[in-house]
Amino acid sequence: MNSDNVKWGWGFVTPALIWTIAFFIVPFAVMVAMSFANLEGRSLTWGFHLDNYEELATRAYLKRAVLVSLEITLTVTLVSIVLAYPLAAIIAFRVPLRWQRLVLLLAILPFWTSYVVRSYAWLLVLAREGLINQALLEFGIISDPLTLANTRFATVTGFVHFFVMLLTLTIYANLKQLSPNYRLAAMDLGANPFQTFRYVIMPLTLPGIVTGAFLTFVLCIGDYVTPQILGGNNELTIPQVIMVQLGRRADFPLASALALVMMGMVTLAYLAAARWLRIDRV
């Protein structure tokens, strides 16, 4: 490689490098350092203190927030996959090619509305006097309104509505890449439709599922709005606890430690996804 090429190469890479250093590496380093600092009253003491991490291990509400976040995120991811896969398959295999773009557009239409507005809309649907309870009461299925809003069910519903769209797109893209010959060959060899799906189609679409599931995991575990609006603060997730530390206590050290724990969980999810997918071979 001649020196001109090297210079050109550095010229192209430098802006991205500066951006990454300034807006990821430096803030990340500050956050790590902050998580080992101590807040006494309003004065911050830098150093290598493990107090924030000790607090994470001992405070009941902090441990519970980690657990609640994990439970909600895993539930949302699983439910979204179960709902998104058939939807993507129907669009890919049953909808005529010329209509597929329109159907996909309709599937992602809710993305176009504000996230906050969508959450409040769900709150109105799930309320005691909301659409669902009114309908169930009208048809005589229930005699008293169900408690749907301000529950984990409401939080999961709000999340799933959003993430089904995301997963549908990643799985659909994967399904469309599959040659129809795989299906035909499997059926030719005597496989029934279920066996074809179970042993041929699904393994081949795993990259789409895992990629969508990972994105769902990352976005869901770090989300503050949905549990705040739909969960009614009845269970605190990690982002909600971080907001409390920042907004009420200005406790940046503990908030940083919590954020690092969350990053650790995302990293573990990434490693699991990469190992499962054998990403180096994809």
């Binding site: 309003r42 509400y61 709150l123 005691r128 009614g232």
Partner: protein, 350 residues
């Protein structure tokens, strides 16, 4: 010089001058009730300045913002009345000329000299007050139950209550229900408060911020908001007059907000003018009926400007009784504050 060139230069100079004349900007760190054009525009037009508002929630957030800002970035601070001392102790606020403030026109109970001043020097002035008490839908509850705090969070209303998501007033109400004065809350009181919070929490459908609590009450999701008050129901009153509030027999918590000038402000004259406007009868009438939330003006002369209907919603004529039956927010020191927050978060995550 040609006429055209002169005209261009003259035009440029005028543009620059005009730019300089409107360049003065006042930066205020405020609660959401100040972010209302009806309140801010008259001041901007009168002084030919631009007021930049940054809304925040919770004193911790304001102090963090100030910590991260450069000296001089902010000129005015609106803060919880009970937290003024925290900013005075750290030298954040500048002294205010008492003689230029309408302190003698204020409701005496909210002057709060012990909070707003130190060693005879005033650093902030009360601008608005109200109550954290019980808001409810009069069509859905037994109104007489609302006069007794224990009945409000009893099993009778299980699942029909929302708790306002701010630990100080709600823990204050819990203390009052146990006969503990808010000013005397200490570490030893926390056990009694904890028991009340457990009962309250088990009856609650949600723990909600301002907007969520209003939505829950307006949509029928809940019938009662513990910690609510005129600030919660006043904006609903026109369309839903059944949304109302009361102060129970045991009493309730009184909130106040103060306004001060930052010591590092480079435009203290303008900042002082803004503060004087906010506490003037005109400013007070607009602030008390702000689109974000209503509340009583600290300056009683605002009553001459507010309409009869507005005063009815604010329960102007009952203020004497309300003020005598309510206690200020708890004002814990740093250690007690952290203990109270931990207890609150433990209860939230139950």
């Amino acid at each position: 010089m040609t006429t055209l060139r002169k005209a261009l230069l003259g035009g440029t100079a005028m543009w620059l001058f005009a730019g300089a004349a409107t360049a003065q900007e006042l930066n205020a760190l405020v609660w959401c009730d100040h972010a209302d054009d009806a309140l801010i525009k008259p001041f901007e037009e009168l002084h030919g300045v631009k007021v930049n508002l940054r809304e925040y929630e919770g004193t911790g957030a304001a102090l963090a913002l100030l910590d991260q800002s450069r000296p001089g970035d902010w000129d005015v601070l609106v803060i919880d009345g009970i937290d003024v001392f925290r900013t005075v102790e750290t030298g954040l606020l500048a002294p205010l000329p008492k003689e230029e403030l309408p302190i003698s026109d204020m409701f005496p109970e909210v002057v709060m000299e012990e909070n707003n001043s130190k060693d005879g020097v005033w650093y902030a002035v009360t601008e608005k007050f109200g109550y954290n008490t019980i808001s409810y839908n009069a069509d859905k509850v037994d109104v007489s139950d609302m006069q007794n705090l224990a009945s409000v969070w009893s099993d009778k209303y299980a699942g029909r209550i929302s708790i306002y998501d701010y630990y100080l007033p709600v823990m204050g109400l819990a203390a009052i229900s146990e006969g503990i004065e808010t000013a005397k809350i200490d570490e030893a009181s926390l056990d009694a408060i904890s028991s009340v919070l457990t009962q309250m929490r088990s009856s609650a459908a949600s723990v909600a911020g301002v907007v969520a609590a209003q939505t829950a009450l307006a949509t029928g999701e809940v019938d009662i908001v513990v910690g609510g008050g005129e600030w919660l129901t006043a904006v609903l009153a026109e369309e839903q007059p059944e949304m109302t509030w009361t102060i129970p027999d045991q009493g309730a918590v009184r909130w106040t907000q103060s306004i001060g000038m930052l010591a590092d402000s480079e435009q203290q004259e303008l900042a002082l003018e803004f503060i004087k406007y906010i506490v003037s009868p005109e400013g007070q009438s607009r602030l008390s009926t702000s689109s974000c939330f209503w509340g009583m003006p600290a300056n009683a002369n605002a009553g001459d400007i507010l309409s009869k209907e507005q005063k009815e919603v604010l329960r102007w004529d009952e203020q004497g009784e309300f003020l005598s039956r309510t206690q200020l927010y708890p004002a814990p020191n740093t250690e007690l504050d952290i203990a109270m927050q931990d207890l609150w978060l433990d209860k939230l995550s139950q």
